[in-house]
Amino acid sequence: MKNFRIIPRLEVKTKHLIKGIQMEGLRKVGCPVEFSIKYSKEKADEIFYDDIVASLYDRPYDLKMINKISKNLDIPLIVGGGIKSLSTAIEVFKNGADRVSVNSAALLKPSLLREIAKIFGSQSVAVQLQIKKLNESYEVFAESGRERKNIDLFDWIKIVQKFGVGEIICIFIDRDGMEGVADIEILKKIRNQTKVQLLYGGGISKYDEIKLIKSLGFNGVCISTSLHFNKMKLNEINRDI
């Protein structure tokens, strides 16, 4: 799988690795440090650390945790959730992030993306899209899918690229923690409108689904439930397809 990235996504709430279904009903899975070491040994391409409550409860960032995770890796660490300002981003980079992912704060102030890119470069700024289908259109949400912003998915994809992000991480809320991936037509449309790196997350539970996402031109996948609960194994993902 040439240059296609397999990325374990670790959602973290107050020092615990957690997992929910459609971003609700969170349950504890284990220790994020231990899981990140395990995934890095199993040849994950990157680790995506996603603090799912830092933004919602406006908590100070758990920099110690990022430091601990970073210390044990030999691959890149993407840090997301609660990157609310340039100064938070700077602190997060100082403590071990190799790239940051922004969602809620960018929805309030898209220019934050450019501010970070101006110091760290576009390749170091990702934006996470929490996507939900409402009637016939798709919208992006804030705060782990809790807050509707009335922003159309495709309008937002245009805006974030204008503000200089290097990567778009699409997480489909309705597929989160489920089995089965999002509708192919919408994924094709997203790829068509995106000129930067593009990752997919939500419902991956079969090796063929990774193959499918790759064939649509995506650059990688974020996987959580299937890896955390041993439904899929990183070393069994065929990298040669």
Partner: protein
């Protein structure tokens, strides 16, 4: 003499990841943000994860242009990603910017002659090429981690290895005098990356 590695620190970069790689070797290391910090340093690392304009303006603001250039003339330097790019004459990132002009050539967006190619390039990619330079041959045909929107286009011929992206060849690594410059991130490239540090520290 005990090896003491300096890491250039201007409030950018992924310094923790560089420190993590260095901590696997029996050496000491420290951050460098002023001329006086260069005094006790045997090796210098210019980290990546930054923008050309920001880093060059910091270097100028702190009057570090000449001290860094003098250091590079005499002692080993590992320049990573953006660190490699600022060694060139100029860059197009956020407008035209002047670099340290140690390598002759320019830094341009990777899709400059190739509109179909995605920017940035991110991922673990094979570095390829043969060279008379023995070190380069050892480092070739291995995977390293890349994350960049810009690439180096030298005007002179330097010993180098390449990588393929979107059916084009780009410069992956240059070895010139005491400089090892990598477009990729050795600190994010598993064991292959640590081999780069090992080679650099033995320089």
């Amino acid at each position: 003499m005990k090896k003491n590695v300096g890491i250039l620190n201007f409030n950018y970069g992924n310094i923790k990841s560089v420190e993590r790689s260095l901590s696997t070797f029996p050496i000491s290391f420290q951050l460098v943000s002023a001329k006086k910090d260069l005094k006790d340093i045997t090796h210098l690392i210019i980290p990546g994860v930054g923008s050309f304009k920001h880093v060059m303006s910091q270097i100028k603001e702190k009057s570090m242009t000449k001290p860094i250039k003098d250091f590079i003339l005499h002692k080993p330097v590992l320049a990573i990603c953006l660190g490699m790019q600022i060694l060139f004459t100029k860059s197009e990132e956020f407008g035209n910017q002047k670099g340290l002009d140690i390598f002759k050539g320019s830094v341009k967006k990777i899709n400059v002659n190739n509109p179909n190619c995605l920017v940035p390039n991110i991922g673990h990619l094979n570095v390829i090429g043969k060279s008379k330079n023995k070190i380069l041959n050892k480092l070739s045909n291995k995977k390293y981690y890349f994350a960049h929107s810009y690439s180096c286009f030298p005007k002179k011929k330097y010993d180098h290895l390449s990588f393929d992206y979107s059916k084009k060849k780009y410069i992956g690594l240059i070895q010139h005098k005491k400089i090892l410059a990598t477009q990729f991130h050795p600190e994010l490239s598993r064991k292959n990356g640590l081999d780069i540090y090992k080679w650099f520290l033995n320089f």
